[in-house]
Assembly symmetry: C2
Homo-oligomer: 209 residues x 2
DNA sequence: TTTCAACGACCGAGCGTTCGGTCATACATC
DNA sequence: GATGTATGACCGAACGCTCGGTCGTTGAAA
């Protein structure tokens, strides 16, 4: 199920150093991509912001798109990590879902810029890396799918089996929507209001059927 | 409320001809942008696909971004036109909402590629045109807002007043989601299934409160 | 002496945009 | 009808520049 993570070749031997430099690259690139977008950011800007020269940058990547891939991967990793941190409290059924939604939407809020970045630049990735990144997105959706299944097993949720997968997508997309429609939503709602309304929308259908 | 439509200067005198040529440009560019994206499409390709030379292309636009603006505008115009066509049957209340959702989602399905195009390339527009295009998006949302209000007035819908605007956004985004998550959704659901589940999600919350 | 990360001047393909010029058409003049 | 002239849509070679990517060199460390 989980795709093979594409590993980018490097001219440099020391793996520790590679990791360190790539962290620098990602940190620098995230900021640049958020403020100017991938296409309008030059490799030279990335190298400068990373703290080294253009030549050195190319010791650690093979193409500019590799940088985008590293960035997308790092962001997804952080989303998933944070989401799983929020999920540890093993209450059961609906309550688990409630707190998962709340936690996830808070993560979306805190990581707005980075989430939006993935949304907007993912299409600039080459085919293979793109598939991998989309796979990550499905993994996150799958987490909610499991929570829904769990709630159905303990009887606290009732959903048609065929709707489960779609509900998981809905939960994720309604979270991401907080970022990509912020130009309108955040003028009219606070995060807490947003979470409350969306949660009751999602649970409304689920519990009454 | 409605933004001023930005009109692009042209070197050519005859307005009829301008309109005709710009239609050619849009038609050509939509195809190219869908298959290669805005950034990877060259002005020369656009002119070639439009049926005239690069020099002539620049008689009708001032910059490559103008083409993107023309494209986005044309797409939105078509969405809005089609949506309004579907809304004519003046049944009332919930039924109006039901058929509006169904109609809108069908439009999204038929215009998948073009809707997705706007989603992915809007950010490449200069500030002003972007504001205008986002304004169009709010207009579409407003149409659903009105339908919701209408349903509340005739008593067939009950929603907290504060949730109305957000519900309208939800309806629109869940429609657009059919396009931007098609890599997963369309593997698991038919359009009809999708419409049914989403409609009952939306109405579930609305009617039971 | 060997190794190798770091450097940055250099390369050249490709891009958006320009501009001097062509030519079909329309109209005026004889 | 023949001739001259103005118009304006159309053309595409060429320009200037940007930017991703390369490679010969340097200098520190082992």
């Amino acid at each position: 199920m989980t795709q093979q993570k594409k590993s980018i070749p490097s001219m440099v031997k020391d793996p520790k150093l590679i990791e360190k430099r790539r962290e620098q690259i990602v940190e620098a690139a995230v900021g640049l991509f958020i403020s100017k977008g991938f296409h309008k950011t030059t490799t030279r800007e990335i190298s400068r912001a990373s703290g080294f020269s253009i030549g050195t940058l190319y010791e650690y990547i093979e193409s500019k798109e590799d940088v985008l891939y590293l960035v997308c991967d790092a962001i997804h990793q952080e989303v998933e990590k944070r989401l799983k941190e929020v999920l540890v409290d093993a209450t059961s059924g609906v309550e688990k879902l409630r707190s998962a939604i709340k936690g996830f939407y808070h993560v979306m809020d805190e990581m707005q810029d980075r989430v939006l970045l993935i949304y907007q630049e993912i299409k600039s990735l080459p085919k293979e890396p793109m598939r991998y990144v989309l796979g990550k997105e499905e993994e996150i959706t799958a987490i909610f799918e499991e929570i829904l299944e769990h709630g159905m097993q303990d009887g606290s949720l009732k959903i048609e089996q065929s709707a489960v997968k779609l509900m998981a997508h809905n939960i994720v997309v309604l979270g991401e929507m907080w970022t990509f429609r912020r130009w309108s939503l955040q003028k009219h709602y606070t995060l807490e209001q947003y979470i409350n309304i969306q949660t009751s929308l999602i649970l409304g259908e689920l519990t009454t059927n």
